[in-house]
């Protein structure tokens, strides 16, 4: 049989796509679809929660770095050098 005739025969041969098979595939697809939607919802909420936590962390870190540094009390370097009599070395 020629390729053209085989092609036509293949086109005319319909798959066994009965109603109960179609319904079974649909039911399974619906279940999976619900599951996908639920998973997407959970992921979306997790991403939103993660984003909020991230923003709070950034704000807290910025607040911490903006506060005045707590330096140990002591003499400035120049005054200390004068006190130790280093001949003006520190002034230069």
């Amino acid at each position: 049989m020629s390729l053209d005739r085989l092609t036509t025969a293949a086109r005319e041969a319909e798959p066994a796509w009965e109603d109960d098979r179609a319904a079974r595939v649909l039911a399974s697809a619906m279940t999976r679809r619900e599951r996908r939607i639920a998973r997407a919802r959970v992921l979306r909420r997790a991403a939103a929660f993660g984003g909020v936590v991230g923003i709070v962390c950034v704000v807290l870190l910025r607040g911490a770095s903006a506060s005045a540094p707590v330096d140990p009390p002591g003499e400035p370097a120049f005054a200390q050098a004068q006190l130790q009599g280093d001949g003006g070395y520190a002034r230069d």
Binding site: L3, L6, A13, E14, R24, M30, R32
Partner: protein, 182 residues
């Protein structure tokens, strides 16, 4: 109203109802048989172990999520075929890997069918199974499904020139294989 039903059985879920189960069902009922037919021929006799059912199911799940991007209702069917082709290609690649493994394991036996049950179309499917999926898919879409060349190129996600070349090469190989059988 959950879905827009157009003349010719084209169903497009309304943009606001993409999460509606009724819209999903309407889309499925309108196009499932057509998609199953295309996949049946792409897989050669519908494949094995529920491959056809899996691909149809996955196609509708993927397509339903992507349908929001489609404005033109006419392109719904083309979009479904594109998704189905993508899925089919994966199945064919997996099948090839398994066949290779089975060959090395000396456990591979081709499907033997009773000669009395064979139809002439089986010769075509046998020949199709022996050519690479990249050649076989465009050939089936164009020659068997009678899709135009631009539609075939779109479904296969390749250029028009590539699809023409692949169809011509598939045609040549199929002719040769069928000639050997005679």
């Amino acid at each position: 109203m959950t879905a827009i039903v157009r003349p010719g059985g084209l169903v497009v879920p309304h943009a606001a109802s993409v999460r509606d189960p009724e819209a999903f069902e309407a889309l499925y009922r309108a196009h499932a048989r057509y998609v199953a037919g295309v996949v049946h021929r792409l897989l050669s006799r519908g494949g094995r172990d529920g491959e056809l059912d899996d691909i149809v199911q996955e196609t509708f799940l993927d397509a339903f999520e992507g349908l929001r991007e489609i404005d033109e209702p006419r392109s719904v069917r083309a979009w479904l075929v594109t998704v189905a082709v993508r899925r089919t290609r994966r199945i064919l690649a997996r099948r090839r890997r398994r066949a290779l493994f089975a060959f090395f394991a000396k456990d591979y036996a081709p499907r033997a069918s009773d000669p009395r049950d064979r139809s002439p179309v089986d010769d075509l499917y046998d020949a199709l199974e022996r050519i690479p999926a990249d050649l076989r898919i465009p050939w089936v879409l164009h020659r068997v499904e009678q899709m135009s060349l631009p539609e075939t190129a779109q479904a296969c996600e390749v250029s028009l020139a590539t699809v023409k070349r692949r169809i011509a090469e598939a045609e040549e190989r199929l002719e040769r294989r069928l000639e050997e059988k005679r």
